[in-house]
């Protein structure tokens, strides 16, 4: 591996985008989580929701800030490090990226200020609207950026003129073949990332404070954990289904990537489901393979004797690096099934009435806090490394996409990014940990019995606010 400007730019892009994606993956879900909390506050007047909102909004603000600053880096790197990619795709992807800026970024940014600082200036309802707009902005942003990414995976609606892609059909470009399922898969992934992070952090608070802590301290953690685990129990199975459908699209449009994911060298029917193997690219075979016969074909084609494409269908210089694709996919799927298991466990404990008391379960939930981040990251490794050696699948090789910049300049920038991100991330984690340790402010004078036992009132009944409990706006 030669460390020329191309390789350095690839490392830099991989590093900066892996760092970046952690934050959107979290904040897409957190924004909706905040909207749900505030909706419940407006609906029930139960101070626990406002209290939770005020706690999670701080976590959100730090994560969002880190996402914004690392995102600006991404938007300029297309030009600084990948100018020939910009030249090739500019006619098609330029407008798509611009739509992201004008429809999503401004929306998020303008209403973020009101959401963070404006509650007592605009009142409850407008503030709730601002929260919803921020949540909507994150979803719109994901829409456009995944459209652009999907187009690079499954290009459509274009023609090639003078060695550049030019648009022919905008609808086909934006809604390219892999986009709908990739978008669903990513948004669900982001929501689940948040759900497991919220559940895990809440479980940690419950474990830490024990059963004797004041109710005002624990009620919020219980409510958060319960809501997040409901979400996980319902949506993990749906995510697995969406992932499976998305896989069928990969089989259809990116057969070589699929072959790498499966570690499948020969085109074959009755392909086994490989649970473990070490792909050997030099020998074009797998070592230590462990698989269940025929199930691989069945999962992919829904027929036991379905034919699955092999890596040897294409010459070696058209194949992605097999090992990282093979393993990152298995890590992602493994995490997914661990999530499924936790979701089912939570349902069982709920039924038994032990959701908040089973310490083994609380510990497991706490340990799953970072699981969503892992799944998202390894999912992206699968998608992006699996696309190699192309940056635009079948059209533009990564090697032909780089800028005419010097290796010295790129190595300097790469080193700077590594140091700066480590510094920023270190402090970000430190302040997040401080916030978590502090937990939500206790709700003073909370009527514990009323809060934990009273059934939810129907929507139409006027709020009977806990007198004097509703926090008044600060000056």
């Amino acid at each position: 591996m030669e460390l020329d400007a191309l390789m350095l730019s690839r490392i830099q892009f991989a590093f900066t985008i892996s760092f970046h994606i952690i934050f959107p993956a979290f904040t897409i879900g957190l924004a909706s989580w905040l909207a749900a909390l505030e909706f419940n506050w407006l609906r029930t007047g139960n101070p626990i929701y406002r209290n939770l909102f005020r706690f999670w909004v701080k976590i959100f603000a730090i994560s969002f800030g880190l996402g914004v600053v690392s995102g600006i880096v991404m938007s300029y790197q297309f030009g600084t490090n990948w100018s020939r990619y910009s030249e090739f795709t500019g006619n098609v992807l330029g407008p798509v990226i611009a739509y992201e800026v004008i429809t999503a970024f401004f929306l998020e940014a303008a209403f973020l200020g009101i959401m963070l600082f404006g509650w007592e200036k605009v009142g409850d309802r407008l503030h709730f609207l601002a929260t919803c707009m921020v949540a909507l902005g994150t979803l719109i942003s994901a829409f456009w950026i995944l459209s652009a990414n999907s187009w690079m995976q499954t290009p459509a609606g274009y023609a090639i003129e003078n060695g550049k892609a030019v648009p022919v059909d905008w609808f086909a470009i934006v809604f390219n073949p892999s986009f709908p399922l990739r978008y669903a898969h990513m948004v669900l992934g982001a929501y689940l990332t948040t759900a497991f992070a919220v559940a895990g952090m809440s479980a940690w608070m419950l474990l830490r404070h024990g059963r004797d802590a004041p109710e005002g301290k624990l009620a919020g953690a219980r409510r958060s954990m319960s809501m997040a685990l409901w979400f996980a129990a319902i949506f993990v199975p749906i995510q697995i289904l969406v992932g499976d459908l998305h896989g069928l699209g990969v089989l259809k449009y990116q057969p070589t990537k699929l072959a790498a994911i499966e570690g499948n060298w020969e085109r074959q029917a009755n392909m086994p489901l490989r649970l473990f193997a070490i792909p050997d690219e030099a020998a074009e075979t797998n070592r230590y393979e462990l698989g269940i016969p025929k199930i691989g074909s069945w999962v992919l084609t829904h027929a036991f004797d379905g034919v699955v494409p092999g890596l040897k269908d294409v010459p070696p210089d058209e194949r992605p690096p097999v090992l990282p694709v093979f393993f990152s996919f298995r890590i992602m799927v493994g995490i997914g099934f661990a999530m499924l298991a936790l979701g089912l466990w939570s349902l069982y404990l709920r039924w038994k009435g032990q959701l908040f008391t089973n310490r083994l379960f609380l510990t497991a939930t706490m340990l799953m806090t970072p699981s969503g981040f892992g799944a998202v990251l390894f999912g992206w490794f699968t998608a992006e490394i699996g696309r190699q050696p192309y940056v635009v699948y079948g059209l533009l090789r990564t090697a032909d996409a780089a800028s005419p910049v010097s290796a010295t300049a790129v190595s300097a920038s790469l080193a700077t990014f590594v140091v700066v991100y480590a510094f920023i991330f270190g402090f970000g984690s430190y302040y997040l940990a401080k916030l978590l340790r502090k937990g939500p402010e206790p709700i003073e004078g909370l009527d514990e019995d009323a809060l934990s036992k009273k059934p939810k009132r129907p929507f139409s009944v006027p709020d009977e606010r806990l007198e004097g409990q509703r926090p008044q706006p600060a000056e």
């Binding site: 603000a61 938007s75 800026v101 940014a109 005419p404």
Partner: protein, 349 residues
């Protein structure tokens, strides 16, 4: 048509002109709005009291994120409709752009981290100040390098990594620091009270003087950078048509100085913006229609008509809405920042 010697007609002529206008507006918006909050950062470390710094930061905390979004729109817009310019300019400006990005990272996180820290607060004071300073200087260098022009073969940058760095681009870098400092100081005059306001007024006068000096130096230098620019300014009837630009600039600068002296609260900020726009206009006049000086025009760099139209539809529909809610966000946080920033602040942190 219009003496630009282009063979482009109809949509192929007009779309790039419209888009050049829109991107110019986006960049101007950026320079004004992020200019003043970067300027607040430039002033930040000179502020004597912790309470002053708190108030200065609070005056921009709810809006800075939206302000910075115009920077993404400038880059994104260039990619969307003049991708060839984007592909040439970005590698040519590799060092200053990456420097700016790194500086903006430090500055951006400072907003969140500063209020959550106690022992490490000094770190984020410095991150905010030096992040703003370095980002501004880098932007000024980019501006200077842009005016100078770039070695390119029409598709790719062909020069060296450090070509951007010249005495002229260093001058524009320093000039922009003074200019943003002026915007930031007049913003503080408008948004704060008491001793802080008086101090901001004094700083504004200093930055005004420095800005005017920088503008004069740049104006004297620019015509001699390339023959096209010299011809544009000093040929008849251009001399007569363009003469009002420097004259009005001088008047605005004088008015601004008087307003700062006499204690007007809000007008200095808007006069500072006017000063910026006049300087910007002068540069626009010098460079149009080149998007990669000295030889690539907006028409040569433009994307296909379909791409420009597709993006334009979105801009026409969405941009007015964007302006509306951005204005609303500013309206929500109108008025002066309270003298005391209590723990609850704006109900957050």
């Amino acid at each position: 048509m219009f003496g630009f010697g282009t063979e482009y007609e109809g949509l192929a002529f007009w779309l790039p002109v419209i888009w050049a206008g829109l991107i110019a507006v986006a960049v101007a918006m950026y320079v004004i709005v992020d200019g003043f909050d970067l300027g607040v950062g430039i002033l930040f470390r000179s502020a004597r009291e912790e309470n002053w710094r708190d108030r200065m930061m609070f005056s921009v905390a709810p809006i800075w994120d939206g302000n910075e979004t115009w920077l993404i729109l400038g880059g994104g817009g260039l990619f969307a409709v003049f991708h060839l310019a984007y592909a040439i300019l970005m590698p040519a400006l590799y060092v200053p752009i990456i420097t700016m990005l790194i500086a903006l990272i430090f500055r951006g996180v400072a907003f969140e981290f500063r209020f959550k820290s106690d022992r490490s607060k000094f770190l984020w004071d410095n991150a905010f100040h030096f992040g703003s300073l370095v980002a501004t200087f880098a932007q000024g260098v980019v501006l200077g390098a842009f005016v100078q022009g770039f070695a390119h073969d029409g598709r790719q940058f062909t020069g060296g990594t450090l070509d951007f760095l010249t005495p002229f681009s260093v001058l524009t870098g320093l000039g922009l620091v003074c200019g943003y400092g002026l915007l930031g100081a007049t913003w503080c005059v408008m948004k704060t009270t008491g001793e802080l306001e008086i101090w901001a007024r004094r700083m504004a006068v200093r930055f005004l003087v420095a800005t005017v000096v920088a503008m004069v130096l740049v104006s004297l230098w620019v015509p001699f950078l390339g023959r096209q620019i010299e011809a544009r300014w000093f040929s008849w009837p251009n001399v007569a048509l363009l003469a009002p630009i420097p004259l009005v600039t001088a008047l605005v600068a004088y008015r601004l100085y008087r307003d700062l002296e006499t204690g007007r609260p809000m007008r200095p900020f808007f006069l500072a913006i006017a000063l910026f726009l006049l300087g910007y206009l002068g540069l626009g006049v010098s460079l149009f229609p080149y998007i990669v000086p000295p030889s690539l025009t907006i028409w040569q760099a433009a994307n296909t008509v379909s791409s420009q139209l597709f993006a334009l539809v979105g801009f026409a529909v969405v941009l007015p809405v964007t302006f509306a809610y951005t204005a609303y966000a500013y309206y929500v946080f109108r008025g002066k920042v309270a003298e005391e920033i209590r723990g609850g602040g704006y109900g957050y942190h």
